[in-house]
């Protein structure tokens, strides 16, 4: 099947609008959030329009329909990841998913394999998004556990030479990103998972930048926990996913309605997973919207999306590097590399470059991209990032390139 970008773009109403005084929208910020196809917008609003009721409660038809729609979305997520429905927890965001894991570990009774002490270690990497760093710093400070990390090499890859020293015998958790939201680096999971499991540690995978862009089968990845956010996968905001096949061993983090088995005035017991982790009325319409988003992506095919993005990434990398003083921050080869492309342009500050590009209708991200330790390590105060998705095309790269060249003249 040929990849018809023009047809795909027609499914996204936002591309019909213009920005900054009639300029065509060139959206290169999908790493921050993706645009939404009509089917997702429809699914979300249709839930409110026709099926709205609190799920898992109520003896009426609407409650039944809402529950079916919500649980149907869970099944879609499970199928998308090669998982089982009971292994899928809906959260409000990937950030909440990671906090859920870290706080649930805090609640684990001593002696549990999830309970951390001052004798234990948590391993992260220097390329983590703040969302996969700070919850672990906080867990370390609550438990007394120590934090270690893989360093990032100048070529944007993890330094794995010291893997046996970094993932030491006392390591309990290895929290790592699948694909860096700054560098585009896709990390070699096999080696890391093997070492982590050899020392009895669990692997938590931040898949925010991978699940929307490539085929994922959790069984093949071999990780213990995986999180991603709906809004980066053409889904709505307000819905995140936590996958694990070990939820039964983990105590809850948020307490309240829906997550209980039995309640007295003095105590309570917990429902089985995943309900144990979904206290309160969930973001139902958003979960349903995510189901529609995954249907949309599956129909196009994740393999096709991945190959489209790879071809586009190759084109962007080649064209961008023709610009004098432009320096790519991240791998230059396409091996194990995704479509987040960060760069610096001479002395032009990324904010100024981003502002200039915006005046041309080109939306990019500038700054530290919520990975401040990484930009510090790389020795740059900030970078400009173009992050691509299924609806982007080569012509947009050409406009980005001419935009950057014109910005160089403007700020010269």
């Amino acid at each position: 099947m040929s990849f018809d970008v023009a047809a795909i773009r027609r499914d996204f109403p936002i591309f019909e609008r213009t920005v900054r005084g009639g300029k065509k929208l060139i959206y290169l910020d999908s790493g921050a959030t993706s645009q939404k196809p009509e089917t997702v917008i429809e699914a979300e609003s249709n839930f409110y329009r026709s099926h709205n009721a609190a799920v898992h409660r109520g003896a009426h038809q609407l409650a039944e329909e809402a529950t079916d729609a919500y649980e149907g979305a869970r099944e879609k997520v499970a199928n998308f990841l090669g998982a089982k429905s009971e292994e899928i927890v809906f959260t409000k965001s990937a950030t909440e998913s990671i906090n859920l894991i870290a706080y649930s570990m805090s609640n684990a009774p001593s002696g549990s394999r999830f309970a951390l002490t001052s004798q234990d270690r948590i391993v992260v990497t220097e390329m983590e998004h703040h969302a996969n760093l700070i919850p672990w710093q906080q867990l370390a400070s609550r438990s007394g556990a120590k934090i270690s990390w893989f360093e990032v090499l100048p070529n944007g890859r993890l330094d794995l030479d010291s893997i046996n020293a970094v993932i030491s015998e006392d390591t309990k958790v290895v929290a790592i990103t699948h694909q860096s939201n700054v560098l585009g680096t896709i990390n070699p999971l096999e080696e890391i998972v093997a070492r982590a499991h050899a020392v009895g540690a669990v692997v938590v995978l931040d898949a925010c930048q991978s699940v929307p862009h490539m085929p994922i089968d959790v069984k093949k990845l071999g990780v213990d926990f995986l999180v991603f956010s709906g809004h980066k996968a053409v889904g709505p905001t307000g819905v995140g996913v936590l996958w694990s096949n070990q939820l039964e061993d983990l105590p809850p983090f948020l307490f309240g309605g829906s997550m209980i088995e039995n309640v007295t005035m003095e105590s309570a017991t917990w429902a089985p997973a995943p309900k144990r982790f979904e206290a309160g009325v969930p973001n139902m319409a958003q979960a349903v919207g995510l189901g529609a988003a995954l249907d949309f992506l599956s129909k196009i095919g994740m393999d096709n999306i991945f190959h489209h993005e790879m071809a586009l990434t190759k084109y962007f990398l080649e064209k961008l590097q023709e610009i004098p003083t432009l320096k790519i921050v991240g791998p230059l080869d396409l091996e194990n590399r995704g479509s987040c492309i960060s760069f610096t342009v001479g002395e032009i500050h990324p904010h100024d470059l981003g502002q200039y590009l915006d005046s041309q209708g080109i939306a990019v991200r500038t700054g530290h991209h919520c990975a401040w330790p990484l930009t510090r390590k790389l020795g740059v105060p900030a970078t400009t990032r173009a992050s691509l998705y299924l609806y982007n095309q080569e012509a947009e790269c050409d406009l980005l390139v001419s935009g950057i060249v014109n910005a160089q003249k403007y700020f010269a």
Binding site: R20, G21, H349, P350, H351, D352, Q355, Y356, S359, T366, G367, H368, W372, T375, P381, A382, Y410, F411
Partner: protein, 156 residues
């Protein structure tokens, strides 16, 4: 072009040829301010003599707006009393929150009126304010230390 209302010549001049950049060896107060959303950072040294601002020196990294703004601060507030400088700072903050409806008084704000256009770009207001907030913080610390000296004096 709309962009030119943001990037006035005066701003680009201050950015390319910043005033008082490079930290003085001595100072009354040193403050370090960052803009957490973008990573811009400045360090600012403030020295006050005989109730007047004797020097403001600074160093930092950031976009043209943040760097030009601190350059303007370091020049505009020289020889002003802390009260005068405080009033100018308040006028500038008001200008930044005007959403493009105010032009700013050139007799008071001088070069800083060139920043008026920034108020139409919500994402950049923090850039323009970085140097002013650093100054205000430094001035507050000097006032606090003066107050505590006064209080100690009064209790004797």
């Amino acid at each position: 072009m709309e962009l030119d209302t943001l990037y006035q010549e005066v701003i680009l001049d201050h950015y390319k040829h910043p005033l008082n950049k490079g930290l003085s060896g001595t100072y009354d107060v040193q403050v370090h301010h960052i803009n957490p959303s973008c990573g811009d950072e400045i360090t600012l040294n403030l020295t006050v003599r005989e109730s007047k601002i004797q020097s403001i020196t600074w160093d930092g990294v950031g976009c043209s707006i943040s760097q030009a703004s601190v350059s303007i601060v370091s020049d505009l507030l020289l020889d002003k009393s802390l009260d005068e400088a405080g009033a100018i700072t308040e006028q500038f903050i008001e200008l930044m929150h005007s959403k493009g409806t105010k032009e700013g008084d050139p007799l008071v704000l001088e070069d800083a009126v060139a920043m008026a256009g920034v108020s139409k770009f919500p994402a950049r207001i923090k850039c323009a304010l970085l140097g002013w907030m650093a100054y205000r913080d430094a001035a507050d610390r000097i006032k606090q230390s003066q107050d505590s000296v006064d209080e100690r004096g009064g209790s004797q």
